[in-house]
Amino acid sequence: MASYLLRRLLLTIPILLGVSLLVFFMLHSAGGDPAQIMLGSRADPASLAELRRELGLDRPLWVQYLDFASGAARGDFGRSYRSNTPVAAEIAARFPATIELAVAAMGIAIVAGGIVGAVAAVRRHTVLDYLGSAGVLLGISIPTFWLGIIVIIVFGLWLRWLPISGRVDPRLGAAPSVPFLTVTSLLQGNWAVAGDALRHLIMPALTLAAWPAAIVARMTRASLLESLGQDYARTARGKGLPERLIVVRHAARNALLPVLTVVGLEFGTLLGGAVVTETIFAWPGLGQLTVTAISARDYQVVQGVVLLLAAVFVLLNLLVDVLYAVLDPRIRYG
């Protein structure tokens, strides 16, 4: 197991190198002079040349890449063209908000998707099953950004149950930049802030959860149906065990593995999907940072975020494979 883990970890290095090459050369050949963007249209050619030299933009592209890659390996993604602050600091300030949103959404997706999928499998070919399938189809067909607008209209504007944007009411005095605001304020016993942060979290998390919930439900149904058709389920039925126990004790455990895989894969997708959701709800996370950076042609920030999320994505896949071995005694990696 240890040697397998080591091999897989080593294998992530060429993947991340490839991704960094891809992203760097794509963004840096995109045109748009960062020096011009930073200084504006009034800057004279001498100042522009000076700034280009200072930023190292006058060097060959491959030298700039090596500089970027060696910095990134040490967690240094350079400085933002727009704000001149280190990109790593900008990411560190925003990442926790995205993680909070993504974890909340994944939690909702696992619970909702798991329940819908399991009920559909156990009550196969009933109204519940068909309703579940319809829900799954809607979940993968409705665009996130439209769902976001609809929940804002319904729950924010008509019913006035929930706030429509931001992370916390500024009047409460809590800084929205606090990492994991909901959990932190809960632990501090600051109920007012925790409650408000939670209310801000519900709509974006529900919106972001729709797609993965549909995928989890579909996989749970398929996987549970397969387990219920296996010999051990028939044996358990033959012993006279009630169907509920067969599902909970025997089938569910074996149906877990494929579900776990999609949860792992979807979590990476979810971090990407947060780009859109954060834009709709003005959620101060990585997605919003990326969109602002793209419109400002601040490619230092864009490549930093993309590379970081790619690394998380690759590591998540590795984690899923390891969990596989832990959960299924038949799988042994040599």
Binding site: L27, L137, S141, F145, I153, L157, G268, L309
Partner: protein, 260 residues
């Protein structure tokens, strides 16, 4: 059901734009009107007819979805077939390149490509196509590996067929079924991605009546005129639903292993 939705959409896309008002015509006096007898879906902030814009957006979305899939399916099949047929180092190198595309969440890859090419509908379509490419390449490679071991390939080789002829005449026709099923579902996903890029300002540019872009514009008026955002989103959802249903149906019909 899926085919019915797609048939209606195709008719709307072909005939609709000829029957509605000019989707770009601005009528400031009638701006921000809720749905009424004259403007069925209301008007936007520039007084444009939302019904006309949604109908005129149908050919754009359908074409962008189909074009994206054509890019992904074409390139993916080419890469996957070559990788499967050649195997060895060439195959491994090609598939390593494909796997690289998988190491990025779809929307981030699309954003990077669109940022490189400059905002616009063609860039968004190419981006969505590249996002789909790995799925087709993997499928094509796996199917090619299976088909190339069949006797008909040996027979073709024995009568002197070249590698190119074998791939074009014997392998590609035999791996098409799973690729077609995958691409039907892929059109829906591509439409979602192109409209998401439009929503983020990286896709179609104004005044093109692209549905994602329309939703981005609608967002500013969500508190005062929420109806602006309802119809373009409904149109996207219905279109994607149509392709997903048709894809599921096609898979059930063509794949005997799918339980019913």
């Amino acid at each position: 059901m899926g085919v019915a939705i797609l048939a209606v959409l195709a008719v709307v896309a072909v005939v609709g734009p000829l029957l509605v008002r000019d989707p770009a015509a601005q009528n400031i006096r009638d701006r921000l009107q809720p749905p009424n007898a004259v403007y069925w879906f209301g008007t936007d902030d520039l007084g444009r007819d939302i019904f006309a814009r949604v109908v005129s957006g149908a050919p754009i979305s359908l074409a962008s979805g189909l074009a994206s899939v054509a890019v992904g399916l074409g390139l993916g099949t080419l890469v996957g077939t070559v990788a499967g047929y050649a195997e060895g180092r060439t195959g491994l190198a090609l598939m390593a390149g494909v796997d690289l595309l998988l190491a990025l969440p779809a929307i981030l890859l699309a954003i990077t490509v669109a940022a490189r090419l400059g905002a616009g509908l063609p860039a968004a379509m190419l981006a969505a196509g590249l996002v789909g490419l790995p799925a087709y390449a993997r499928l094509a490679r796996a199917s090619t590996l299976a088909v190339k071991r069949r006797e008909m390939v040996d027979a073709a080789r024995a009568i002197g067929a070249s590698d190119r002829q074998i791939v074009a005449r014997h392998i590609v026709p035999n791996i098409l079924t799973p690729l077609i099923v995958q691409s039907t579902i892929g059109v829906g996903n591509a439409i979602l991605l192109v409209s998401a890029l439009g929503f983020l300002g990286l896709g179609a540019q104004p005044p093109t009546p692209e549905w994602g872009r329309m939703l981005a514009d609608a967002q500013r008026y969500v508190t005062s005129s929420p109806y602006i955002g309802i119809f373009p989103g409904l149109a996207i959802s219905l279109t994607v639903l149509g392709f997903n249903l048709a894809g599921d149906g096609l898979r059930d019909a063509l794949d005997p292993t799918v339980g019913r």
